[in-house]
């Protein structure tokens, strides 16, 4: 399989033989609190653009190779044996649930825009298709077995015995079966629209999109550890309530109201954690077939300091999430309808778009199942986009 995957990767690279140079984007740089105290980067998502000609005059045609790789922490949320949601019975699952994942994801992506707009870099409509592959390997968190107090992990009990039985089915976490390493391939089809004027501290308009990702067990090269169909739908509405311009499309001060809403639907027997989504500040949205999240945010931007991406800001946010329908990755058929909610404030100083100082405090007021309400805060410096 390894050799076949390697040959396929080379073939994918060989497609744009006519290309002479590359465009480049970094989408996201991430950090983890236990890796260099959240200061040093631990993963990055980036894209190479092959210089293909536009197929429709005035609209953008893109052929790109996207890579997302690094190390990230993840939380085990369902019983690996039964798929029961652990937050429902916290006393039964009283052990550390965080573990580490090393991952590499690639997407070979082709997109075609339609209908040029004068105020956005994107076309009004963009259709895309991509072939995707993802490698993952999971292991205990980085601080595991670094001292007497760090013996207990997700997979290992404090007394040194293995936590899960040898014949565990891993229904609740299919990507952790066997040697906890997977290689999955998928196909994604999507459509995006963009009718937003976005100058970082000033935003007005609407944009959104929908995409479908297919990961049948018969996909070429996949190891069969995933089997799902995903529909992801998102919408962003933004309105600048107040702005004091500073010339050159910069601002001294502005207030922007944003609303981000996502709806994702998944059907399948083996749904890996990386695709489950449903992330909001604080509580977990239960892993049901349908998940909706919404963030309403009011952001106060300070002066952009001679650069579009250097500025202070203060954001007040209110997050809501709903999980409803069939619970995914369970051995027994079960339906739920649960809501979660949180609110908070985030202050940050963004520096040339690649680093930031931040302070964040939030309250998880509507937690999932038996969890108690809690308040959390964090402060720090990190690189990131």
């Amino acid at each position: 399989m390894k050799r076949t995957a390697f040959i396929l990767l080379l073939l994918l690279f060989a497609v744009p033989l006519f290309s002479i140079g590359f465009g480049y984007h970094v989408f996201e740089i991430r950090t983890e609190p236990e890796f260099g105290k959240g200061v040093f980067p631990s993963s990055v998502k980036y894209q190479f653009n092959f210089p293909v000609p536009d197929l429709i005059v005035g609209s953008k045609t893109e052929l790109a190779f996207r890579l997302d790789n690094g190390l990230a922490y993840r939380t085990l949320r369902q019983d690996p044996e039964t798929g029961a949601i652990m937050a429902e019975e916290p006393s039964l699952y009283d052990f550390p649930k965080e573990y580490t994942v090393h991952f590499d994801e690639f997407n070979l992506l082709f997109s075609q825009g339609f209908v040029e707009t004068s105020f956005s870099e994107n076309d009004f409509l963009t259709a895309f298709v991509s072939i995707d592959g993802r490698f993952e390997m999971a292991f205990e968190r980085l601080s595991w077995m670094t001292g007497p107090g760090e013996r207990e992990g997700v997979f290992w009990e404090d007394d040194g015995s293995y936590r899960f039985p040898e014949d565990c089915t891993w229904v609740g976490a299919p990507e952790l079966a066997d040697d906890r390493s997977v290689f999955q391939t998928t196909i994604t089809l999507g459509l995006m629209f963009d009718y937003m004027r976005d100058l970082t501290t000033v935003r007005d308009g609407i944009k959104g999109g929908t995409y479908w990702r297919f990961a049948p067990e018969w996909m070429l090269l996949t190891d069969g550890s995933a089997s799902f169909v995903l529909s992801w739908n998102e919408l962003q509405l933004s309105k600048t309530l107040y702005a004091i311009p500073n010339g050159n499309e910069l601002t001294w001060f502005s207030i922007v109201l944003d609303d981000y809403i996502t709806y994702r639907w998944i059907n399948g027997d083996k749904v890996p954690a990386y695709i489950q989504g449903g992330d909001i500040w604080g509580p977990d949205v239960p892993n049901a077939s349908s998940v909706i999240t919404n963030r309403l945010a009011l952001t106060f931007y300070g002066p952009q300091i001679n650069s579009r991406d250097t500025y202070p800001s203060l954001t007040i946010f209110w997050d809501l999430g709903w999980g409803f329908g069939k619970v995914l990755n369970t051995s027994t058929e079960r339906k739920i309808a649960e809501s979660v909610g949180s609110y908070g404030i985030r202050a940050e100083f963004a520096i040339v778009g690649i680093a930031e100082f931040f302070y964040e405090i939030g309250c998880s007021y509507d937690t999932v199942f038996a969890e108690d309400m809690y308040v959390e805060q964090s402060f720090g410096f990190s690189v990131g986009i």
């Binding site: 002479i20 980067p41 190479f48 790789n69 590499d104 077995m145 670094t146 650069s307 680093a355 410096f381």
Partner: protein, 414 residues
């Protein structure tokens, strides 16, 4: 650590805020073919380096200064060196057979007491490097370059030494026992005490080190936009590096993790022998020869892992002669092959870094020959095959020997 690093980075970033916006990106991906077994399937990158550049007007009338922040991270296994006594830093090669019994090396006789263990460990690490590079006057051979460049920078590094990731698999992935701790989590000898020869393995084994550096470079070399052109000219670089303990290198509970200074002088000369061009300006073939000298010395009581010189001898004088042949560019400007033959003579001298009593002094000569074939495709695939012969091995008793390696790298440099 976080606050200290934040303060430094703020001071470095603040000047940027007053300059005009203009940025580009430089990046490459490494280690595609060097994947750990079962980790990335040997296909996917275990390490990534990427950078952000800005060009700013700093000195009126001169070329724009380059401000760059470069980030990298890597996650792979490393092997503990068994060449230095971990309590005194005394090198193995200076000890007689009888004396060896009185010293302590990783992997020696007592190593497996309490459970068999290997020398391999998991080493996630990351670096942030920030610099400002200002050029002065015009390079006579390159209309886009400067004759003199002054570069000042700051580098911070974080690294962990952990049990191999397979140790958390069922049956511990076949590993008998952890390397740093006992199965009950207590710290295993010798990691329960200070290890002066290996300061990055002290205490929690989470290491933070940083240093400031300055490079003064004299450039009189030709512009080579696609790297397939023959090189010609000369260059001289002086590097001064300071990683003293007061520069946040003693802020962790592990003690002083770095306290060193480094100076390096590098000079090279290159001369084109012939160059044949295609009608479109691309290269049919060219040949140039080069010669360089490097003189380096590392001072200070604690030299961090990534700054240890050859065989830990503080001084290095290297002479390199090379011949570089480039084959035709085909299909695209960044598709070509090259072959390079190198002859290295390296003299290492001085006392041994990280040895407590600084008693050992030595001089050694290492000589080697290498040939490297590169195939570059479309600016992002690089296949490399190297073969070499080490004919003088310095302090090591090994016979002269051949070696070879190959690598496939995906990289981008824009």
């Amino acid at each position: 650590m976080k606050k200290a690093l934040g303060l430094i980075l703020t001071l470095l970033f603040l000047p940027l805020c007053i300059f005009a916006e203009s940025s580009s990106l430089d990046a490459y991906i490494e280690s595609v073919s060097g994947g750990v077994k079962g980790f990335g399937l040997g296909l996917f990158p275990l390490g990534t380096t990427f950078g952000f550049e800005r060009y700013i007007d700093l000195v009126p009338g001169e070329n724009k200064a380059e401000f760059q922040i470069e980030l990298n991270f890597a996650f792979n296994n490393r092997t503990l060196s068994d060449d230095y006594d971990y309590l005194t830093g005394r090198p193995r090669w200076v000890l007689s057979h009888d004396e060896l019994k009185d010293y302590h090396f990783f992997g020696d006789e007592g190593w497996n007491e309490g459970g068999e263990r290997s020398l391999s460990y998991f080493n996630p690490r990351s670096e942030i490097d920030i610099y400002l590079d200002q050029g002065f006057w015009d390079n006579p051979l390159n209309p886009y370059g400067s004759l003199l460049n002054v570069k000042v920078g700051y580098n911070a590094r974080f690294a962990m030494a952990l049990e191999e990731v397979t140790f958390s698999l069922p049956d511990h992935g076949g590993l008998t026992s952890p390397i740093f701790v006992h199965s009950d989590g207590t710290i295993r000898e010798p990691f329960d005490e200070s290890l002066p020869a290996y300061p990055w393995l002290n205490g929690s084994r989470n290491t933070f080190t940083d240093y400031l550096y300055m490079v003064i470079a004299l450039n009189m070399d030709r512009d080579t936009p696609t790297d397939a052109e023959a090189e010609e000219g000369l260059g001289v670089d002086l590097l001064l590096e300071a990683g003293p303990k007061w520069l946040f290198n003693n802020i962790s509970e592990n003690g002083v993790e770095s306290d060193y200074f480094l100076a390096r002088l590098y000079a090279e000369q290159k001369m084109e022998i012939f160059s044949i061009e295609q009608e479109n300006g691309w290269t049919w073939m060219n040949l140039y020869i080069g010669h360089s000298n490097t003189l380096q010395y590392v001072f200070g009581p604690v030299v961090p892992e990534n700054k240890l010189p050859l065989d830990r001898l503080r001084g290095t004088l290297q002479d390199r002669i090379w011949i570089h042949f480039t084959g035709p560019q085909f299909m695209a400007g960044d598709c070509y092959t090259n072959i390079e033959f190198n002859l290295y003579n390296t003299l290492a001298f001085g006392s041994v870094a990280n040895e407590i009593d600084r008693r050992t002094r030595a001089v050694e000569l290492q000589s080697s020959f290498s040939a490297r074939l590169q195939l570059r495709l479309f600016g992002f695939i690089r296949f490399e095959y190297q073969v070499g012969y080490d004919f003088i091995r310095g302090i090591w008793p090994s016979e002269p020997s051949w070696w070879q390696n190959s690598a496939l790298q995906f990289y981008v440099s824009l």
